[in-house]
Symmetry: C2
Subunit: 219 residues, 2 copies
Protein backbone atom coordinates (compact mmCIF):
# COMPACT_ATOMS: atom_id res chain seq x y z
CA UNK A 1 0.00 0.00 0.00
CA UNK A 2 2.95 2.33 0.57
CA UNK A 3 4.35 4.62 -2.09
CA UNK A 4 7.14 2.67 -3.86
CA UNK A 5 9.78 5.25 -2.93
CA UNK A 6 8.73 5.73 0.70
CA UNK A 7 11.52 5.45 3.22
CA UNK A 8 11.16 2.51 5.62
CA UNK A 9 9.88 3.77 9.01
CA UNK A 10 12.85 2.15 10.76
CA UNK A 11 15.31 4.02 8.54
CA UNK A 12 13.64 7.29 9.44
CA UNK A 13 13.72 6.56 13.17
CA UNK A 14 17.32 5.37 13.01
CA UNK A 15 18.30 8.77 11.60
CA UNK A 16 16.27 10.73 14.15
CA UNK A 17 17.75 8.69 16.99
CA UNK A 18 21.27 9.21 15.65
CA UNK A 19 20.75 12.98 15.82
CA UNK A 20 21.77 14.90 18.94
CA UNK A 21 22.63 18.51 19.71
CA UNK A 22 26.32 18.39 18.85
CA UNK A 23 28.38 20.28 21.41
CA UNK A 24 31.84 19.71 19.88
CA UNK A 25 32.43 19.76 16.14
CA UNK A 26 35.49 18.45 14.30
CA UNK A 27 36.73 21.75 12.87
CA UNK A 28 38.79 19.96 10.20
CA UNK A 29 35.81 18.32 8.48
CA UNK A 30 33.70 20.12 5.89
CA UNK A 31 30.29 19.08 4.59
CA UNK A 32 30.69 18.02 0.91
CA UNK A 33 29.25 20.54 -1.57
CA UNK A 34 26.48 18.25 -2.88
CA UNK A 35 25.33 17.44 0.65
CA UNK A 36 25.34 21.10 1.63
CA UNK A 37 23.40 22.04 -1.50
CA UNK A 38 20.70 19.54 -0.49
CA UNK A 39 20.53 20.99 3.03
CA UNK A 40 20.11 24.51 1.64
CA UNK A 41 17.41 23.18 -0.66
CA UNK A 42 15.63 21.63 2.33
CA UNK A 43 15.41 25.15 3.78
CA UNK A 44 14.05 26.49 0.49
CA UNK A 45 11.46 23.69 0.33
CA UNK A 46 10.31 24.13 3.93
CA UNK A 47 6.59 24.93 4.25
CA UNK A 48 5.44 28.30 5.56
CA UNK A 49 2.23 30.15 6.38
CA UNK A 50 0.37 31.01 3.13
CA UNK A 51 3.54 29.81 1.37
CA UNK A 52 4.86 33.33 1.88
CA UNK A 53 8.36 32.42 3.12
CA UNK A 54 8.66 35.39 5.50
CA UNK A 55 12.33 34.73 6.22
CA UNK A 56 15.86 34.59 4.97
CA UNK A 57 18.63 32.11 5.77
CA UNK A 58 22.14 33.47 6.21
CA UNK A 59 25.03 31.09 5.70
CA UNK A 60 27.96 32.63 7.53
CA UNK A 61 31.05 31.63 5.55
CA UNK A 62 33.35 34.48 6.58
CA UNK A 63 35.56 33.24 9.47
CA UNK A 64 35.98 36.79 10.75
CA UNK A 65 32.21 37.23 11.02
CA UNK A 66 31.94 33.88 12.80
CA UNK A 67 34.50 35.07 15.34
CA UNK A 68 32.59 38.34 15.78
CA UNK A 69 29.34 36.46 16.44
CA UNK A 70 30.99 34.15 19.00
CA UNK A 71 30.92 36.48 22.05
CA UNK A 72 27.26 37.26 21.31
CA UNK A 73 26.54 33.51 21.41
CA UNK A 74 27.80 32.95 24.97
CA UNK A 75 31.06 31.73 23.48
CA UNK A 76 29.53 28.53 22.15
CA UNK A 77 32.36 27.14 20.03
CA UNK A 78 30.02 25.50 17.52
CA UNK A 79 29.74 28.95 15.91
CA UNK A 80 33.37 28.85 14.78
CA UNK A 81 34.14 25.10 14.75
CA UNK A 82 31.24 23.73 12.71
CA UNK A 83 31.60 23.27 8.97
CA UNK A 84 28.60 25.54 8.33
CA UNK A 85 26.76 28.07 10.44
CA UNK A 86 23.27 29.27 9.51
CA UNK A 87 21.37 32.21 10.99
CA UNK A 88 17.62 32.00 10.44
CA UNK A 89 16.00 35.43 10.26
CA UNK A 90 12.30 36.27 10.28
CA UNK A 91 10.54 39.25 8.74
CA UNK A 92 9.62 41.98 11.21
CA UNK A 93 6.87 43.34 8.99
CA UNK A 94 4.78 42.24 6.03
CA UNK A 95 3.84 44.73 3.33
CA UNK A 96 1.27 44.72 0.55
CA UNK A 97 4.17 44.91 -1.93
CA UNK A 98 5.65 41.70 -0.51
CA UNK A 99 2.34 39.90 -0.86
CA UNK A 100 2.02 41.09 -4.46
CA UNK A 101 5.56 40.00 -5.29
CA UNK A 102 4.67 36.56 -3.98
CA UNK A 103 1.42 36.45 -5.95
CA UNK A 104 3.21 37.41 -9.16
CA UNK A 105 5.75 34.69 -8.48
CA UNK A 106 2.87 32.25 -7.97
CA UNK A 107 1.21 33.29 -11.23
CA UNK A 108 4.47 33.01 -13.16
CA UNK A 109 5.40 29.66 -11.61
CA UNK A 110 1.98 28.18 -12.29
CA UNK A 111 1.36 29.80 -15.67
CA UNK A 112 -1.80 31.60 -14.64
CA UNK A 113 -3.20 35.12 -14.57
CA UNK A 114 -2.47 36.95 -11.33
CA UNK A 115 -6.09 38.16 -11.43
CA UNK A 116 -7.18 34.59 -10.71
CA UNK A 117 -5.47 34.88 -7.34
CA UNK A 118 -7.71 37.76 -6.20
CA UNK A 119 -9.51 35.58 -3.65
CA UNK A 120 -6.25 34.29 -2.22
CA UNK A 121 -4.91 37.86 -2.16
CA UNK A 122 -7.94 39.03 -0.19
CA UNK A 123 -7.46 36.25 2.33
CA UNK A 124 -3.76 37.07 2.79
CA UNK A 125 -4.12 40.85 3.01
CA UNK A 126 -7.20 40.57 5.23
CA UNK A 127 -5.28 38.43 7.65
CA UNK A 128 -1.68 39.65 7.47
CA UNK A 129 -2.23 43.39 6.97
CA UNK A 130 -4.99 43.77 9.56
CA UNK A 131 -4.29 46.22 12.36
CA UNK A 132 -4.69 43.47 14.92
CA UNK A 133 -2.14 41.22 13.25
CA UNK A 134 0.60 43.78 12.53
CA UNK A 135 2.18 43.58 16.02
CA UNK A 136 2.15 39.78 15.76
CA UNK A 137 4.12 39.63 12.49
CA UNK A 138 7.57 39.09 14.05
CA UNK A 139 6.21 36.26 16.23
CA UNK A 140 4.40 34.68 13.28
CA UNK A 141 7.49 34.92 11.07
CA UNK A 142 9.64 33.50 13.87
CA UNK A 143 7.38 30.45 14.09
CA UNK A 144 7.86 29.90 10.37
CA UNK A 145 11.65 29.92 10.80
CA UNK A 146 11.23 27.22 13.44
CA UNK A 147 9.45 25.00 10.91
CA UNK A 148 12.49 25.54 8.68
CA UNK A 149 14.75 24.67 11.60
CA UNK A 150 12.84 21.41 12.15
CA UNK A 151 13.08 20.66 8.44
CA UNK A 152 16.82 21.38 8.39
CA UNK A 153 17.55 19.28 11.49
CA UNK A 154 15.59 16.33 10.10
CA UNK A 155 17.26 16.65 6.70
CA UNK A 156 20.70 16.80 8.30
CA UNK A 157 20.01 13.69 10.39
CA UNK A 158 18.91 11.77 7.31
CA UNK A 159 22.08 12.79 5.46
CA UNK A 160 24.06 11.94 8.63
CA UNK A 161 25.27 15.48 9.08
CA UNK A 162 25.57 16.57 12.69
CA UNK A 163 23.84 19.72 13.84
CA UNK A 164 23.26 21.93 16.84
CA UNK A 165 20.33 24.33 17.04
CA UNK A 166 21.32 27.46 18.96
CA UNK A 167 18.84 29.76 20.70
CA UNK A 168 21.37 31.18 23.14
CA UNK A 169 22.52 34.30 21.31
CA UNK A 170 21.84 38.04 21.37
CA UNK A 171 19.52 38.84 18.45
CA UNK A 172 20.18 42.60 18.67
CA UNK A 173 23.91 42.07 18.23
CA UNK A 174 23.38 39.57 15.41
CA UNK A 175 21.01 42.00 13.69
CA UNK A 176 23.59 44.77 13.97
CA UNK A 177 26.56 42.72 12.76
CA UNK A 178 24.63 41.15 9.89
CA UNK A 179 22.74 44.31 8.89
CA UNK A 180 19.40 42.56 9.33
CA UNK A 181 17.32 45.41 10.74
CA UNK A 182 17.62 47.49 7.58
CA UNK A 183 16.33 44.49 5.62
CA UNK A 184 13.23 44.21 7.82
CA UNK A 185 14.59 41.03 9.36
CA UNK A 186 15.62 39.82 12.81
CA UNK A 187 17.69 36.79 13.79
CA UNK A 188 15.42 34.20 15.39
CA UNK A 189 17.48 31.03 15.79
CA UNK A 190 20.76 29.57 14.53
CA UNK A 191 22.05 26.18 13.49
CA UNK A 192 25.61 24.88 13.34
CA UNK A 193 26.18 21.92 11.02
CA UNK A 194 29.13 19.64 10.37
CA UNK A 195 30.59 16.54 11.96
CA UNK A 196 30.90 15.65 15.63
CA UNK A 197 34.33 15.61 17.25
CA UNK A 198 35.45 12.23 18.56
CA UNK A 199 35.73 13.84 21.98
CA UNK A 200 32.05 14.87 22.24
CA UNK A 201 30.74 12.73 25.08
CA UNK A 202 27.21 13.94 24.36
CA UNK A 203 27.25 11.79 21.22
CA UNK A 204 26.85 8.56 23.16
CA UNK A 205 24.58 9.78 25.98
CA UNK A 206 21.12 8.14 25.77
CA UNK A 207 18.43 10.50 24.53
CA UNK A 208 16.17 11.78 27.32
CA UNK A 209 12.47 11.82 26.50
CA UNK A 210 9.28 11.80 28.50
CA UNK A 211 7.37 8.54 27.90
CA UNK A 212 5.36 8.58 24.69
CA UNK A 213 2.24 7.96 26.80
CA UNK A 214 2.84 11.32 28.46
CA UNK A 215 3.92 13.33 25.41
CA UNK A 216 1.27 11.97 23.08
CA UNK A 217 -2.32 12.08 24.30
CA UNK A 218 -5.17 10.35 22.54
CA UNK A 219 -8.51 12.12 22.52
CA UNK B 1 33.07 9.88 3.05
CA UNK B 2 29.37 9.71 3.89
CA UNK B 3 27.96 7.64 6.73
CA UNK B 4 27.09 4.21 5.24
CA UNK B 5 23.42 4.54 6.12
CA UNK B 6 23.00 8.16 5.01
CA UNK B 7 20.06 8.81 2.73
CA UNK B 8 21.05 9.97 -0.77
CA UNK B 9 20.53 13.76 -1.06
CA UNK B 10 18.32 13.23 -4.11
CA UNK B 11 16.03 10.88 -2.20
CA UNK B 12 15.62 13.50 0.51
CA UNK B 13 14.81 16.25 -1.97
CA UNK B 14 12.42 14.03 -3.91
CA UNK B 15 10.41 13.54 -0.71
CA UNK B 16 10.43 17.24 0.21
CA UNK B 17 9.33 18.18 -3.31
CA UNK B 18 6.55 15.59 -3.24
CA UNK B 19 5.16 17.21 -0.09
CA UNK B 20 2.50 19.91 -0.37
CA UNK B 21 -0.16 21.33 1.94
CA UNK B 22 -2.91 18.85 1.19
CA UNK B 23 -6.28 20.56 0.85
CA UNK B 24 -8.44 17.50 0.16
CA UNK B 25 -7.86 14.17 1.89
CA UNK B 26 -9.25 10.79 0.84
CA UNK B 27 -11.43 10.13 3.88
CA UNK B 28 -11.52 6.39 3.15
CA UNK B 29 -7.76 5.85 3.55
CA UNK B 30 -6.11 5.32 6.92
CA UNK B 31 -2.40 5.53 7.71
CA UNK B 32 -1.16 1.98 8.55
CA UNK B 33 -0.43 1.46 12.26
CA UNK B 34 3.32 0.94 11.84
CA UNK B 35 3.65 4.11 9.76
CA UNK B 36 1.63 6.11 12.26
CA UNK B 37 3.70 4.78 15.16
CA UNK B 38 6.83 6.06 13.40
CA UNK B 39 5.26 9.49 12.88
CA UNK B 40 4.35 9.71 16.56
CA UNK B 41 7.89 8.67 17.41
CA UNK B 42 9.24 11.46 15.17
CA UNK B 43 7.34 13.90 17.39
CA UNK B 44 8.80 12.31 20.51
CA UNK B 45 12.32 12.48 19.06
CA UNK B 46 12.02 16.11 17.96
CA UNK B 47 14.64 18.39 19.53
CA UNK B 48 13.64 21.12 21.99
CA UNK B 49 15.19 23.90 24.03
CA UNK B 50 17.27 22.41 26.90
CA UNK B 51 15.71 19.09 25.85
CA UNK B 52 12.79 20.04 28.09
CA UNK B 53 9.94 19.09 25.70
CA UNK B 54 7.61 21.87 26.87
CA UNK B 55 4.66 20.53 24.90
CA UNK B 56 2.15 17.77 24.37
CA UNK B 57 0.79 16.30 21.15
CA UNK B 58 -2.90 15.46 21.02
CA UNK B 59 -4.04 12.89 18.49
CA UNK B 60 -7.74 13.49 17.98
CA UNK B 61 -9.25 10.09 17.26
CA UNK B 62 -12.82 10.77 18.40
CA UNK B 63 -14.91 11.68 15.31
CA UNK B 64 -17.32 13.71 17.45
CA UNK B 65 -14.47 15.86 18.76
CA UNK B 66 -13.18 16.34 15.22
CA UNK B 67 -16.60 17.60 14.18
CA UNK B 68 -16.69 19.93 17.19
CA UNK B 69 -13.29 21.38 16.27
CA UNK B 70 -14.32 21.95 12.64
CA UNK B 71 -16.25 25.23 13.06
CA UNK B 72 -13.35 26.61 15.11
CA UNK B 73 -11.01 25.81 12.21
CA UNK B 74 -12.82 27.93 9.63
CA UNK B 75 -14.53 24.78 8.41
CA UNK B 76 -11.34 23.35 6.90
CA UNK B 77 -12.42 19.83 5.98
CA UNK B 78 -8.98 18.35 6.59
CA UNK B 79 -9.90 18.29 10.28
CA UNK B 80 -12.54 15.62 9.70
CA UNK B 81 -11.40 14.00 6.44
CA UNK B 82 -7.76 13.25 7.17
CA UNK B 83 -6.75 9.87 8.56
CA UNK B 84 -5.14 11.52 11.60
CA UNK B 85 -5.42 14.97 13.16
CA UNK B 86 -2.81 16.24 15.61
CA UNK B 87 -3.05 19.31 17.84
CA UNK B 88 0.33 20.55 19.03
CA UNK B 89 0.09 22.32 22.40
CA UNK B 90 2.77 24.36 24.16
CA UNK B 91 3.28 24.91 27.86
CA UNK B 92 2.03 28.25 29.12
CA UNK B 93 4.32 28.18 32.16
CA UNK B 94 7.44 26.39 33.34
CA UNK B 95 7.82 25.45 36.99
CA UNK B 96 10.76 24.38 39.11
CA UNK B 97 8.99 21.04 39.67
CA UNK B 98 8.86 20.45 35.90
CA UNK B 99 12.57 21.14 35.57
CA UNK B 100 13.32 18.73 38.41
CA UNK B 101 11.14 16.02 36.90
CA UNK B 102 13.14 16.39 33.70
CA UNK B 103 16.46 16.29 35.54
CA UNK B 104 15.45 13.12 37.40
CA UNK B 105 14.43 11.59 34.09
CA UNK B 106 17.82 12.56 32.69
CA UNK B 107 19.66 11.03 35.64
CA UNK B 108 17.64 7.81 35.42
CA UNK B 109 18.00 7.54 31.64
CA UNK B 110 21.74 8.11 31.75
CA UNK B 111 22.46 6.16 34.94
CA UNK B 112 23.94 9.09 36.82
CA UNK B 113 23.41 10.97 40.07
CA UNK B 114 21.00 13.88 39.75
CA UNK B 115 23.46 15.91 41.86
CA UNK B 116 25.85 15.84 38.91
CA UNK B 117 23.32 17.88 36.96
CA UNK B 118 23.46 20.82 39.39
CA UNK B 119 25.25 23.04 36.87
CA UNK B 120 22.74 22.25 34.15
CA UNK B 121 19.94 22.84 36.65
CA UNK B 122 21.32 26.25 37.51
CA UNK B 123 21.50 27.19 33.85
CA UNK B 124 17.91 26.09 33.23
CA UNK B 125 16.36 27.67 36.31
CA UNK B 126 18.40 30.86 35.87
CA UNK B 127 17.11 31.22 32.35
CA UNK B 128 13.61 29.78 32.39
CA UNK B 129 12.44 30.84 35.85
CA UNK B 130 13.78 34.40 35.68
CA UNK B 131 11.23 37.16 36.08
CA UNK B 132 12.13 38.54 32.68
CA UNK B 133 11.56 35.23 30.93
CA UNK B 134 8.29 34.19 32.58
CA UNK B 135 6.06 36.22 30.23
CA UNK B 136 7.96 34.78 27.26
CA UNK B 137 7.34 31.14 28.20
CA UNK B 138 4.27 30.59 25.97
CA UNK B 139 6.12 32.10 22.98
CA UNK B 140 9.24 30.02 23.67
CA UNK B 141 7.18 26.83 24.06
CA UNK B 142 5.25 27.64 20.89
CA UNK B 143 8.51 27.88 18.93
CA UNK B 144 9.46 24.41 20.20
CA UNK B 145 6.17 23.00 18.90
CA UNK B 146 7.04 24.45 15.50
CA UNK B 147 10.31 22.50 15.46
CA UNK B 148 8.16 19.42 16.13
CA UNK B 149 5.85 20.46 13.30
CA UNK B 150 8.82 20.74 10.92
CA UNK B 151 10.06 17.33 12.08
CA UNK B 152 6.62 15.77 11.61
CA UNK B 153 6.11 17.27 8.14
CA UNK B 154 9.53 16.08 6.99
CA UNK B 155 8.98 12.63 8.46
CA UNK B 156 5.59 12.35 6.80
CA UNK B 157 7.02 13.36 3.42
CA UNK B 158 9.74 10.73 3.69
CA UNK B 159 7.16 8.06 4.52
CA UNK B 160 5.00 9.43 1.68
CA UNK B 161 2.18 10.39 3.98
CA UNK B 162 0.36 13.55 3.00
CA UNK B 163 -0.02 16.35 5.50
CA UNK B 164 -1.46 19.81 5.97
CA UNK B 165 -0.23 22.15 8.69
CA UNK B 166 -3.09 24.29 10.00
CA UNK B 167 -2.62 27.63 11.75
CA UNK B 168 -6.11 28.89 10.96
CA UNK B 169 -8.01 27.89 14.08
CA UNK B 170 -9.22 29.47 17.31
CA UNK B 171 -6.84 28.45 20.11
CA UNK B 172 -9.22 29.56 22.87
CA UNK B 173 -11.95 27.25 21.55
CA UNK B 174 -9.50 24.39 21.07
CA UNK B 175 -8.18 24.90 24.61
CA UNK B 176 -11.72 24.81 25.97
CA UNK B 177 -12.87 21.74 24.05
CA UNK B 178 -9.69 19.79 24.74
CA UNK B 179 -9.31 20.89 28.36
CA UNK B 180 -5.83 22.27 27.71
CA UNK B 181 -5.87 25.35 29.93
CA UNK B 182 -6.20 23.30 33.12
CA UNK B 183 -3.12 21.33 32.01
CA UNK B 184 -1.04 24.51 31.58
CA UNK B 185 -1.12 24.08 27.82
CA UNK B 186 -2.42 26.02 24.84
CA UNK B 187 -2.98 24.83 21.27
CA UNK B 188 -0.33 26.38 19.00
CA UNK B 189 -0.65 24.68 15.61
CA UNK B 190 -2.33 21.63 14.09
CA UNK B 191 -1.48 19.05 11.46
CA UNK B 192 -3.79 16.81 9.44
CA UNK B 193 -2.19 13.67 8.00
CA UNK B 194 -3.37 10.99 5.62
CA UNK B 195 -3.60 10.58 1.87
CA UNK B 196 -4.50 13.14 -0.77
CA UNK B 197 -7.80 12.82 -2.60
CA UNK B 198 -7.52 12.25 -6.34
CA UNK B 199 -9.50 15.43 -6.82
CA UNK B 200 -7.01 17.73 -5.02
CA UNK B 201 -5.74 19.96 -7.81
CA UNK B 202 -3.15 21.45 -5.44
CA UNK B 203 -1.25 18.15 -5.64
CA UNK B 204 0.05 18.88 -9.13
CA UNK B 205 0.52 22.66 -8.86
CA UNK B 206 4.22 23.59 -9.11
CA UNK B 207 5.71 24.62 -5.77
CA UNK B 208 6.17 28.39 -5.45
CA UNK B 209 9.47 29.48 -3.95
CA UNK B 210 11.55 32.61 -4.04
CA UNK B 211 14.85 31.95 -5.83
CA UNK B 212 17.44 30.29 -3.63
CA UNK B 213 19.71 33.27 -4.28
CA UNK B 214 17.15 35.46 -2.54
CA UNK B 215 16.18 33.12 0.31
CA UNK B 216 19.72 32.03 1.12
CA UNK B 217 22.29 34.77 1.65
CA UNK B 218 26.00 34.11 1.95
CA UNK B 219 27.94 36.26 4.38
Amino acid sequence: MNHPTALAPDDLLQALRWRYATKAFDSTRKIPAATWAALEESLVLSPSSFGLQPYRFLVIEDPTMRRELLPHTWGQKQVVDASHFVVLAGRTQVTEAEIDTFLHLTATTRGMEVAKLAGYRGMMTGSLLSEGFQPKVPHWAECQTYIALGTLLSAAALLRVDACPIEGFLPAEYDRLLGLTAQGLTATVCCALGYRAGSDKHATAPKVRHPKSSLVQRV
